[in-house]
């Protein structure tokens, strides 16, 4: 039962929470502000920065210099591709585990989770070697496969927790109604699981988009996604704050927006259902 809270206390909470919120958000805010300034203005004191004229010229420069569009496209292909590929493999697996559980289901789920904990650096060289052998180094396909594999356990787990909430009787009803396995999954399970699948896709696109170990180590100029594009700004040449800010804004904006939509699923997905 909610109690009427005194307005004064609510106002105090509000002020405090907003102050903390703005403080945490400040670096991002500052990046966005600087991205709309000239290079010369961007290194001035904060007050001078705020009063300086606004401009979008940095965005143009960044595109010209490091081809944002190409990297953005790489990021989209890699994150969406790996997620969809993962979904393709994970949906049948999650269906099996959720609706035909056996004594080993739990062990398999646990084992899948454990592969996620393999430290990437421990297997970097073998993967690097395999990539050279298979001609996958600096290709989008190679990253799609690797990111699919590292996120597969999360996709399976998330789908599994969502599927488990769908009553088995409905699938049995479909079976009684004459639906085969394919129809059961296509016409009954999938439409019912759309919200869960959407959140799974969203979270995994975010994770893949931000992945910065494999993307940095397995790509060069050709297939590099935005993580690599941004890393190229780590060795500065001359004045570069405005350009860096513009590049950063472009790199994080799409995913920040997606992220805000998926905050609830984030908890569930990243804790493997241990916290709901």
């Amino acid at each position: 039962m909610a109690r009427a809270v005194k307005t004064r206390r609510k106002a105090l909470n509000t002020a405090l929470a907003w102050a903390v919120g703005v403080l945490i958000f400040f670096p991002i805010l500052w990046v966005v502000v600087l991205s709309f300034k000239t290079e010369g203005d961007a290194i001035k004191t904060p007050l001078e920065v705020l009063t300086a004229p606004w401009t979008v010229e940095s965005y143009g420069v960044v595109q010209e210099r490091s081809d944002y569009v190409k990297h953005f496209f790489n990021s989209v292909v890699i994150s969406v591709g790996s997620t969809l590929l993962g979904l393709l493999v994970a949906v049948p697996a999650a269906w099996s585990m959720a609706f035909v559980p056996s004594k080993r289901t739990k062990d398999i789920l646990m084992w899948m989770l454990s592969t996620k904990m393999l430290p990437a650096v421990g297997v970097l060289y073998p993967i690097y070697l395999l990539f050279i052998q298979l001609g996958l180094l600096d290709t989008r396909l190679g990253l799609v496969v690797v990111l699919m594999l590292i996120n597969l356990p999360i996709i399976v787990w998330m789908l599994y927790t969502y599927f488990r909430e769908i009553p088995g009787e409905i699938l049995e009803a479909a079976r009684m109604d004459g639906a085969g396995l394919r129809e059961e999954i296509l016409y009954v399970l999938t439409p019912m699981a759309v919200p869960g699948m959407a959140s799974t896709v969203l979270l995994n696109v975010i994770l893949a988009w931000n992945e910065a170990f494999w993307t940095l180590n397995l790509t060069a100029a050709k297939a590099g996604p935005l993580t690599a594009f941004i890393a190229s700004y780590s060795s500065p040449e001359g004045l570069f704050y405005a350009k860096l800010s513009a590049a950063s804004t472009m790199a994080i904006a799409p995913i920040l927006i997606l992220g805000w939509f998926s905050q609830k699923q984030l908890v569930r997905g990243l804790t493997f259902g241990a916290v709901k």
């Binding site: 049995e172 079976r175 009684m176 109604d177 004459g178 019912m192």
Partner: protein, 333 residues
């Protein structure tokens, strides 16, 4: 047609034998009710017939064809689930049409059958709603609609009324009975409620721990229960069981007498003190203590007879209606 035969069917889960070898024949057009306490295996038995579970051994015959290895989709049976199991993302129309779509019927035929079923079940006005927008009774009717459109060999009902409130339950009970009278299709109905069993069934199968305790018409079960379990399970309020001298006098280990077969009046052999008197209006049930026969004896008296807590009551059984059971709990002839 819809004759279903279970031939030495067994089911084990791991090491647990849920259904010991069991034989049962359900004739075409029969309304057969599986009844028993929870965990007696009645739902499992239904799911074995449906094909949602494999039998461990034995055969399931549908219309004299061995259906044991046929998947549920191909058995030609329809099922109504306890939770209704409607497809939440489809409208009522699409829900009812789903089995027809799966059967690959052409759209005109699907529409015709859906409209017809909707008319029969008073769902015409709701065809374009989703299950979430319907009341419990309406959902139940959609589930039934989905079952009848495909004109199955038999209907399987798995406790279909247990999620409805009491008033609705009585109404739906009648509707299902009427449906059976009209369609004449075999129906197998699982419930734990003996009132549903008594009111609806042509044939009742009483189950306990996977064993069939007795098969028979409602009146057979009421009048000649084969053992103590059936005697105690069928009938409401439950039969009084009396052990000791009164039973021995008649050469039995246990004497059973239903509350409605006890008369009250001076000069009768038994007596006791009224504990609780439940007034239902038409009848009153007296729970009588200190009779020297059993802890409590339930007695039915007409509603207009006044008894209250603490009254002394003298009563006796209708000798013709006494049931006698031997030491093993089996009925003595």
């Amino acid at each position: 047609m819809g004759r279903i035969v279970l031939d030495k069917v067994t089911k084990t889960f791991g090491n647990v034998e849920v259904i010991p070898p069991l034989d049962l024949t359900i004739e075409d057009g029969e309304f057969c009710v599986f009844v028993g306490p929870s965990g007696c295996g009645k739902s499992t038995l239904l799911r074995l017939i449906a094909g949602l579970e494999d039998v461990t051994s034995g055969r399931v015959l549908i219309d004299d064809t061995d259906a044991t290895e046929i998947p549920p989709a191909k058995r030609g049976l329809a099922m109504v689930f306890q939770s209704y199991a409607l497809y939440p993302h489809m409208t009522v129309r699409k829900n009812i049409a789903f089995p027809l779509r799966m059967a690959g019927l052409d759209q005109a035929e699907i529409d015709r059958r859906v409209e017809e079923a909707a008319k029969v079940l008073n769902l015409t006005d709701y065809l374009d709603r989703r299950p979430g927008q319907l009341s419990g009774g309406q959902r139940q009717r959609v589930a039934i609609g989905r079952a009848i459109v495909r004109e199955p060999k038999a209907f399987l009902f798995d406790e279909p009324l247990s999620n409805l409130d009491a008033a609705l339950r009585v109404g739906m009970r009648l509707e299902i009975s009427e449906l059976h009278n009209r369609l004449g299709t075999t129906m197998i109905y699982v419930t734990h409620d003996q009132v549903e069993a008594m009111t609806m069934a042509d044939k009742i199968v009483v189950l306990r721990a996977g064993n069939i305790e007795q098969v028979g018409s409602p009146l057979e079960l009421y009048e000649r229960p084969r053992n103590l379990f059936v005697a105690g399970f069928i009938g409401s309020p439950t039969m009084n069981f009396i052990t000791g001298p009164e039973a021995e006098k008649r050469g039995a280990a246990t004497l059973g007498i239903r509350p409605e077969h006890i008369r009250v009046g001076e000069g009768l052999p038994w007596s006791g003190i009224v504990g609780v008197a439940e007034h239902l209006g038409s009848d009153t049930f007296l729970h009588v203590h200190d009779t020297g026969l059993a802890e409590t004896i339930t007695v039915r008296v007409p509603g207009d007879v006044e008894f209250k807590h603490g009254d002394r009551v003298v009563f006796g059984p209708d000798e013709a209606k006494i049931h006698l059971f031997d030491a093993n709990g089996l009925r003595k002839p």
